[in-house]
Structure formats: C-alpha cells, structure tokens
C-alpha cells in the first residue's frame, strides 16, 4: 500500500482527527456505556501448568459503537469474545452489560461465529425464529419478526431454503439476522468473514456497516485483518500476545460513511501503519520468525 503514495508524501499521524471525525467521537462518547470490561483475567490450567491467556483487560464501549478487537494469533481475542458472550468463564475481573454483571450466556448478547453455526435441520426462516421463540414469543410473532429481519438482508426469497443450499455469504447474513432477531444490546462477531472469499468479504463488510447504521446495536468485531478492522471500526482495541493484554485503544480517524475509496486515504494508511507497527513489531520480537532458506534448485535455474 505504501508504495502507491508519492515518496515525498508523509503520512499524517493516526492521532490527528478532522473536525467532523472529532465531533463524531464526542457524540459517541456522550452516549451511555453499554459494555464495561474491568481488569479481566483468564488463566488456563493444564495439570500443573498455568497459561495466562488474558491479563488485566480494561475497556468499555458506548451504545451504537463499532469496536474492533485485533491482535496476533494467540492473543486471546476469541477467548475475550467468548467470555463476554458468557460461553467461557473468566478467572478474574468483571464484565458489566449496561451496569449488570454478566454471568453465563444470554439473549442480550448475540454472537456470530466464523463457522456459520446455522441449525442445518431448520429452514432459514426457522433459524431466525429460534431466538424469539426461545425467549417466549409466540410462533406467529416470531415468524413475523423473522420475515422482517430477512427482508432487511434481502433473503426473504430464501426463507424456506435449508442452510446447505446457501452460499457462504448468505449463510453469514442469516447468522447475523438470527443473532439480531433477539434484539440484543451488543452483537459479538468472532472473525465472521474469515471463511469467505475476498470479494464476498468486501461486500459483507459494506453490508454489515449498512445494517449497523439502521438499527440500535453495538458491535464488537474480532478480526486479525488490519484493513477490515480500520474499514469497519469506530475504535480498535489492539491486543498483544502471551499474555493477551491491551496495547492501545485506537480511535480510527477515517470519516463515515465508509467506502472502498477510503482504503488509500492518508488517515487510513496512517492507522494501518500504526497497527502494523503494534502487531508485527511484537511478532518480530517473538520467536516465530522464519529460518533462512536453503537453496535446493539448480544455481542457474532462476525464477526472478
């Protein structure tokens, strides 16, 4: 990406924000805090060995914020999402949702997984109806809601199809509205587009932003893709690995609404450079660097 810029042009600091962006952040921070994570700890115990997966994680999100959590593999970002969802137990600290402590999973926190996890025995419509029905809505009411949600993502035509008849992108759209049909306070997304091809992925990112704009939802989005994080997020929580710790909470200086052209804007590139510095710097220090290559092909047989 950097090569595309004129060499003389220097990137602005990722900390510089335009007037409109700063105003947006002021409005965002003025909204109430939805999720508060306080000094969260997670230790895995295997026999006598203890592995610290997460250490002293502190952050909070405001209502209708789009927060991305990014970090190298092994930083515990998935574990963090699962603890917030209530699927894993924390070993220390607190998670507060709208001021109430989180214990176990609940319909107030929707989750979208990388593997689509749609119920294969239910049609698309019944998949979306699952949440409302589980939470005591009548069949008719659940069906009405499901059709509305499917209309939102343009899948009404596939209401009676089974998940295996859908493409990956469509499956993930169903998974998103299935989670949203419960009208959760926050939507946790654990690398939801990781299994999609590059084009579908871009379309899904734009689509997700569109959904997020239309409804009152706070999104916590786990990814390892830097560009995806910058493109989607209001703020990015950068974790480091071994143990997973908060490195920085970055406010993305790219203005909204987002579009693909912004991928080469100076603010975008500056943010990306900062993320690379944080993530790959850390990686460079760790031991998983590649060994020097030994030449096995003929000396005269060159590919460059």
């Amino acid at each position: 990406m950097n090569q595309m810029l004129p060499p003389a042009q220097r990137l602005p600091s990722y900390l510089e924000q335009s007037e409109t962006v700063r105003a947006r952040f002021d409005r965002l921070k003025a909204r109430e805090v939805i999720l508060e994570v306080r000094h969260l700890e997670k230790t895995f115990r295997q026999g006598a060995r203890e592995t610290v997966a997460l250490h002293d994680i502190v952050f909070s999100t405001h209502r209708r914020e789009f927060l991305c959590i990014i970090g190298p593999s092994g930083c515990g970002k998935s574990t963090l999402a699962r603890i917030i969802a209530g699927l894993d137990e924390r070993t220390g600290g607190e998670v507060l949702l709208a001021g109430n402590p989180v214990n176990g999973p609940g319909p107030d926190r929707g989750m979208v997984f990388q593997g689509y996890t749609l119920f294969p025995w239910l049609t698309v419509k019944k998949n979306v109806m699952f949440g409302p029905e589980a939470n005591g809505h009548s069949r008719l009411e659940a069906e009405r809601q499901a059709m509305q949600w499917l209309a939102l993502v343009g899948l009404e035509k596939f209401a009676e199809a089974y998940p295996h008849q859908l493409s990956g992108g469509m499956k993930q759209r169903v998974a998103i509205v299935r989670a949203l049909a419960n009208q959760p306070r926050i939507l946790l997304m654990d690398e939801p587009f990781g299994a999609l091809d590059a084009q579908t992925r871009c379309r899904m990112q734009a689509h997700l932003l569109e959904i997020w704009r239309q409804i009152d939802i706070t999104i916590i989005f786990i990814t390892h893709d830097l560009e995806e994080a910058i493109f989607l997020a209001d703020r990015i929580l950068v974790l480091s690995a071994h143990p997973g710790q908060v490195q920085e909470l970055i406010e993305v200086p790219v203005s909204r609404p987002r579009s693909a052209e912004q991928l080469i804007s100076p603010e975008f590139l500056a943010t990306k450079a900062r993320l690379e510095e944080l993530i790959y710097q850390a990686k460079h220090d760790s031991e998983d660097s590649y060994p020097p290559m030994i030449r096995l092909a003929d000396v005269n047989d060159n590919v460059d």
Partner: protein
C-alpha cells in the same frame, strides 16, 4: 492402469459402475454356488443312486460317498452282476440354487407337516413381532438414556461404566434366567433381544450425541435457549439423522439375536420352521427360510434408508453415502 483408476482412496464410483458393482455383489456368490451345484467336476463328493443294479443295500434316490460307490461298482463288475448306476451329487445339506428358489415359493404354499406346525408366513410374522417388541422396548429405554448420557457428563459417568461391563455378557447366557422369570413363550425371547441390543444402544447413542457440533449448542446458548429447550430444540434434532442411522444398524443386531432368542423356552417363529424342516431333511426349505430373513432385513433397511432421505432433507452425510 486399472488399479490406478479403481483403487484410489475415497474416490467415488460413477453411478453406472455403482449399479453394476451392486448387482455383482449378489451375482458373484450365487455364481459360485451355481458352479459348485451344476458342474459335476466341481466337488460333488457323493453319488446319487439312480439304479441299484445287483447291490442289495442300494435304493434309488440314496446318496453315498463316491469311494463306497466305486467299491460296490468294482464288486459288481468282478462278479459280472448287474451294475449299480448313479450320478455325481452334492451332500443333501447343499441343495442347488433352483431347488432353493423353488422352495422359496413352495414353502409358502405347503401346509405344515405336523399338526402343531406353522405355515412359513405365520412363522415369519411371529418372528417379526418378537423383533419389533424387543427392539421397541430396547429403544424406549436406550435412546433417551443414550441422549441424556451424551448430553450430560454426570449421567454418562453414572451409567456407562456399568453398561460397559454388562454389554460383554452374552445375551443368551440369560436364557435360563429369562425363562424362569418370564415363562416359556414370547416373554424370554423378547427379553434376550432387549438384553442383546439395549446396552450397545445406550453407548452408541451416547457417542452420537457427543459428536454433535458443540458450536451449535453454543449458538443456541447465545440465542437464549436453556436446559430442556436446548435438549429438545438443538441436541435431539441435531443428532436425529445420525440417530436414525444408528437405529438402522442396531435393528440388524436385533435380528442376529433372533434365532438364539427363539430357541429359548418353546422354540417358535422362523427358528421353529427351520429346525422342523431340517429334521425332515428339507434343506432347500431351510435355505429358503434363512434367505427370507436376509431379504426381510435388507428390504427393511433399504426402505428405512429411502425414508431417511425424505425425513431428513438437510442431512448431507445421507446424500453423500447413497
């Protein structure tokens, strides 16, 4: 070349070849049987007497070993008496395919030879009822217990060690006990099938339940489903196609216990028919009855397989396996 094309691990067979191979799987063993039955040079260790000649102890229709017949023939030749005649034949316990095929039909149309005898269809129907009740009672206990053991680890720990022990006890060993408790008629027979099926069933169903994708349960949890709801709306429908496959396999096991079960107390059903026919040396009927069990089993399984595809249209494994 041929080896390269046909013997590649997990490479699917084209549909036409699949059909041909399926037919061959029956044609080959039957062909072998024909070869042994109709080609006199193959095996045929006995001689079927057609004309006793001068040998006083021979009768037409009698079978004797080739060696003994050759001796009698040599005697007759040396004493210039009338020669005994016979054709090479197989022992009476190996009838030819066409005889069994005939018996398959005629066994149904022949009245029972003894007064307490049963028609073949009556025997079969009795056996089917025994199987049904045995399998039904076993499933009534085994499936729910298996699902619970698969879903809840404490239930598994509480039941599985004992079941693991019990399943090694051969079901027929309980025969005398079953007769003492349940009498001599259908009760002990059904009990043997239950004992033979139930313990395997619990373990197999529990294992199938454990193989359910944990992510589906987690997804349901984040959607607000709780304990009984989770079991009813996620675990059970999630394992249903696999459970159905398990039941098909277990039903086959129930059939294998049938003959032993029917020998307990008063012999009944298809086993009674088989033992009666064997007593009269009607071995073609014996083979016909055994073949009937096979055809019934295969027929049921194929019908259940087809029904499964309609019942579980979402099941990918089923489509792949067919």
């Amino acid at each position: 070349m041929l080896v390269g094309r046909w013997f590649q691990i997990s490479r699917p067979v084209p549909p036409r070849a699949k059909f041909v191979l399926g037919v061959l799987s029956f044609v080959l063993p039957i062909g072998l049987w024909c070869l042994v039955s109709y080609v006199p040079a193959v095996w045929h260790p006995q001689v079927l007497i057609t004309e006793p000649g001068s040998v006083s102890y021979l009768q037409p229709g009698m079978r004797m070993d080739k060696g003994a017949f050759d001796g009698a023939l040599a005697d007759a030749i040396s004493t210039h008496k009338a020669l005994p005649q016979g054709v090479p034949s197989n022992p009476i316990y190996l009838p030819a395919p066409h005889e069994v095929a005939q018996a398959l039909y005629s066994a149904f149309t022949t009245a029972p030879e003894t007064r307490d005898g049963q028609w073949l269809h009556e025997s079969l129907w009795h056996s089917i009822q025994i199987i049904f009740w045995g399998f039904f009672i076993s499933s009534l206990i085994g499936v729910p217990l298996g699902v619970l053991a698969g879903a809840y680890a404490p239930v598994a720990r509480l039941t599985e060690p004992f079941i693991e022990f019990f399943r090694y006890l051969p079901a027929p060993a309980f025969g005398a006990l079953a007769v003492a408790i349940l009498g001599i008629y259908d009760g002990p027979k059904i009990a043997i099938i239950v004992i033979g099926t139930l313990f395997q069933q619990v373990l197999i169903v529990a294992n199938t339940t454990r193989k359910l994708d944990a992510a589906l349960v987690e997804a349901a949890l984040t959607l607000g489903a709780r304990n009984s709801q989770l079991l009813r709306r996620v675990v059970v429908p999630g394992i249903l196609p696999d459970l159905y496959r398990d039941q098909r396999i277990l039903l086959g096991w129930a059939w294998t216990y049938l003959i032993v079960a029917e020998l307990i107390g008063t012999t009944s059903g298809i086993t009674f028919f088989i033992t009666q026919q064997a007593r009269f040396q009607h071995f073609a009927n014996v083979y016909a009855a055994i073949a009937m069990i096979g055809l019934l089993g295969l027929g049921t399984d194929m019908a259940l397989g087809l029904a499964g595809r309609r019942l579980f249209p979402w099941d990918r494994n089923l489509v792949k396996a067919e």
